[in-house]
Structure formats: C-alpha cells, structure tokens
Symmetry: D2
Subunit: 179 residues, 4 copies
C-alpha cells in the first residue's frame, strides 16, 4: 500500500498558539480543526491529486491545497447553480484564504473536500473547507475561503448573485427560510 510518510503531524500541536494572542487566526482555531469530521460538511467532493502535487519533501505542497479548495468551491458552484458562473455579470473574486495543515498528503491518495457555509454577507460568502484522505477519520487540512462578488467589468462589489444565494441553501438549510 502506498501511504504518506507521516500520518498525523503530531508536531503541529507541539507548539500551540496562544489563544489570547491576536496573531492567531481564530477562525481556524476556535473550533479545534482536528475535531472536524466528514459529517460536519453538507457537501463532499472528490479532489484527486496529481503526480507533481508532491514537492521535494515528498508530500503535497501547501499551495496545492488552495488549488483543491478553488476547484471544490467553483466546481460545486457550477453544478449547484446549473449556471456557468464565469459568465454572470457578477463574479466571485477571492478576498481571503487560509489553511491549517494537520497531516501530510501524498499522491496517489484519494482525497475529498468538505464544504460548509461559515458566513453569508451582502456581497461575500465565506466557506469552511476540509480535506479528508481515504480511510482517515481526521481531516488532513482545514481551510477558509472568502469570495467577494464584484461586477465583472468594474470589479466593484455587488450583492451575491441570486443563483449563488439559492445554491447555498445546500450548504446551510437554515438559509431557506431566511431568504
């Protein structure tokens, strides 16, 4: 069997952040990310690895996680809205991203990306994301991804488009009544 060198990165907890330190990104820490499970995410999408995702250390490079997040979010949006979101008058531009890496990944492990809605604003959508490797209970990584919707031409912020807002009910059923 082909597995990652490391299994869980015990080291990541050896030098814990100071919870009172404003330099700690609270969102990724507040709910212990390692405690997240597949069932915490309404949508799970396969995000297959590629040979060259592994870098010189023999594990998936930290930037690749963002390629997987981007693909999971936009791939889901394309399907859930039934619309080519790239041609809407308002497009989702990435305003902020973040990731905590909890375990190494390595090609050709099968990986899934979980999607949940963290926050829906007037013109922004914040996703909570996690990567799960086959047979692993704990996430290999937990992330955050903020889309701000802007006019495709002027790049000025606009409200989240209706088809996107409607699709988000799949990620948070409580939105259904709220609309």
């Amino acid at each position: 069997m082909i597995t990652a060198k490391g299994g869980r990165l015990g080291g990541m907890t050896a030098d814990p952040g100071d919870p009172t330190d404003p330099a700690d990104p609270a969102s990724l820490r507040s709910a212990d990310p390692a405690s997240l499970r597949r069932e915490d995410f309404p949508v799970l999408r396969p995000v297959p690895l590629r040979w060259n995702d592994d870098d010189t250390y023999g594990h998936v490079n930290n930037a690749v996680h963002y390629l997987l997040f981007d693909t999971a979010v936009n791939g889901w949006l394309l399907e859930a809205t039934g619309t080519d979101i790239r041609r809407l008058p308002a497009i989702g531009i990435v305003a902020e991203t973040g990731c905590r890496y909890l375990a190494e990944l390595r090609f050709p492990q099968a990986v899934w990306c979980g999607l949940a809605l963290e926050r829906l604003g007037r013109s922004s959508v914040t996703y909570r994301l996690a990567l799960f490797a086959e047979r692993a209970e704990e996430p290999a990584a937990v992330g955050r991804f903020v889309h701000v919707y802007v006019d495709a031409a002027s790049r000025r912020p606009v409200p989240v488009p209706a088809p996107v807002r409607a699709a988000l009910v799949e990620l948070d059923p409580s939105l259904d009544g709220a609309r």
Copy 2:
C-alpha cells in the same frame, strides 16, 4: 502599458468582518493590512510572475500567492543560512498559511515579496509576508506562513535549527541579543 484590470479592490472593504467575530483571522486584520508598506519588511525579494499564473478571470489565481510566499521564504532561507536547508536533519513543514487579497495582479507585472518575522517559537517560525506590485504603494496581498520544524525522517517536531535561528536576526534584529 499593461496593467491589471482592477487596481485596488475597493470591494474588499465593503463587507468588513466583525472585529468581535471569532471567525475573523485576527492576525491579518488587526494591523490593517492595506497600511503595510515596503519599509515594514526587512527583506524584499523579487517573485516574478508566469504567463499561466493568470486564471480564467485574467488575474493571478489565489493559490499562486502561496507559491510566491513559499519561494520567497525558502529562497531567502537558502541564501541567508548559506545551507541547503533541504538536507538538514530538521526540515520546515508548513503548518498554517493565510492570505488577504487587496488588489489584482496580472502577468507580466513585476512583484516583490516582503518578509518579516511575526513570531519565533521553540519549533515554529511565523512569517508575515506581503506582495507589492511595481509602482504600487499599497500591498496587493498580505500573508502569513508558519513553518514547524520536524525531524526529516520521523516528522516529529524538533527545535528550530541553529542556522535558521541565526538567519532570522536579519528579519528581527532584536533577536540578536535574545539568543
């Protein structure tokens, strides 16, 4: 002249986070990232763009920023330590990253990455990073990058290697007396 479509993404501030919301990554928000300047970073390194860094929206994809951060940090470490850090018994594994995107970048803009030390722990180093496009005063992006040093074989956390610790004085002169 070839410029990015957008200039500053005014939209990024139109839907501001709630400062009392634990879901906001405090570290990137506490000091208004847009107020950071080149002189806030002891080291500036060129990080040239590539043609295919631009995605379907005609701007540098959000994951590319992390490729630039990785290259700036590790490129600087290789030079500043005078050592091939990849062959040390302890290697720096990325435990956490984050980025706020303030303005669009577009090939072939010239871009520099600023490096500062945010926090030095027993086995971890947290860098504050920013990308500056040519002729722009404000950063196009501000990031955070956490290396945890682990034994290259066991992947268990170990102290930050001495050559790395010595090099970090360049990023924070106050460390010099502290050692």
Copy 3:
C-alpha cells in the same frame, strides 16, 4: 451545459507542416493524431481538471496537459506494478515529451487519458498518450512521453525494472511472449 469556447481547432490544420520537412515531429504527425480513438488505447484513466488549469484565454493551458500525462503514466504504473515505483532503486526520469493540441479543454469538462506503448527499449519506455473530453470522439490532444530509467542515486541509466516491464504487457500484449 458548460462547454469549451471552441470545439475542434480547425485552425490547427490550416497551416499544415511540410511532411518532408525534418523540423516536423514525425511521431505525432505520421499517424494523423486526430484519427486516434479511445479504442486505440489499452488503458484509459480519468484525469479531472482543476479550476485554475484554465488560463487567461479561458482554456486549459498547454503545460497542464503534461501534468495530466505525468499523472496518468505514474498513477497507472503505481497501480499496475502494485509497487511504490518511487522507492525502487531505478526511477523513471522524463527524457522527452511532446504534445499536439487539437481541441480546447475547459474546466469542468470530464477528461480521460489514453495510454499505449509506442516503444520499449533497454532503459527507456515511450508512451503514446491522448486526452479525450467527455462526449468527444476525437482526441483533444495527442502526446508522447519518454521515461528513461536511471539509478536513483547516481542518475546513470539502467535497464527498465522488472515490475515495470511486466506491467507494460497491459499496454502491449505482444510483449508477453517476448520476455
């Protein structure tokens, strides 16, 4: 439905190479690449696209095809040999690659990579590859990929390892008696 802008790139044949011109890569031209079909490839593997595979022209960037080839070849080798080929004393280093682009691809099209054996040498393996988009009969791209096996330490050429040679029978049954 979401499709690529272009369909077949008729233009690719409008300026045909001179068949007597030594500057034309014969291997990709001799058998008209557009005439290749899925059934010409003993193995077909899914190679899903990612959001940022599309470049500023809204189609999959030409370099991405090689990421897909690399992933298809090495992913197949890992499965077909039942061995982590990265830990064999001899590793396959890429000595030559080539690709002809016949139709544009665009995320999130489903894409398959066909694998066939073009030539087996003492220390080299040449694969013929093709990418097929969902519902398309003709290939979107046809490629060539040459592995040379070298000693992992000295990087000097060595014979193709036995497990790899055995696996190649799946790509060319005639090899079975030849061994």
Copy 4:
C-alpha cells in the same frame, strides 16, 4: 553551493533513437540539441524557478519547462511588440509543444530561456527554445513551441498579426527584407 543532483543526464544518450524511425521527433534531434549554445539564440530571458517546481524526485518537474517556455515566449512578445497581445483581435494559441530534457534543474538555480525562430508560416510561428542553467555551457533542455494565430472570438485561423511579425525580426534578422 546548491546544485542539482545529477549534472548532465548521461543516460539520455544511452538508448538513442533510431534516426530512420518515423517515431523520432526529427526537429529536436536533427541538430543535436546538446550542441546548442546560448549564442544560438538571439534572445535570452531569465526564467526563475520556484520552490515547488521541484517534484518528489527533487528536480524540476517536466511540465514546468513548458511553463517557462510559455512565460518566455509571451513575456518576450509583450515587450517586443509593445502591445498587450492578449487584447489583439488575433491571439496565439498553442498548437504543438515538445521538449528534450538533457540535465536536471533544481530550485534555486538561475535559469535562462533562449528563443529562436524555427519557422514562420502564414498563421503559425514555431519557436526553438532552450533552458540554460547558470554556469552550464550545455542546455538543460531544448524545446519547440508552435503558436497558431486564431480569431479571439471564432477561434478560426488568421494571419500572424503585423506587430508579432515585426517583432520576430529580432529573432531572425533575415525576415526584415522578406516582408
């Protein structure tokens, strides 16, 4: 000093192609690629490596060479034409690429890409390319890159745009009288 593991890949010549075999891409073989030198290329452009260009084998992945070629060709075109070629009514789409890998590259080696004109057709431009690592006399890789110009909207072939044709004189002075 930090160098690639391997130096010249002697292995690449250990299993030479059959010059009478139509499966050998003549263009890359006809003139022995290893004999090419910087002075064979009218234009040389720096193409810096990135940390994660190195794959699990600790050398630059074969697909990265195409990112460098793409960046060198399009970066040169943007400068030499003084025009944002992406906004011309005719855009250059890649119809064919090829590369022979002669020596391993490894971050953070300094690398230059040489550009020469191999062939200018009615609607196509074929570039001969090579990558040279710092202090190396022989190329680390030799490539071929074919642009076909198409109407940006219809994607049908059109003549090479005048600004591009004019710029190509820099790569082949003999074109100057020919126009």
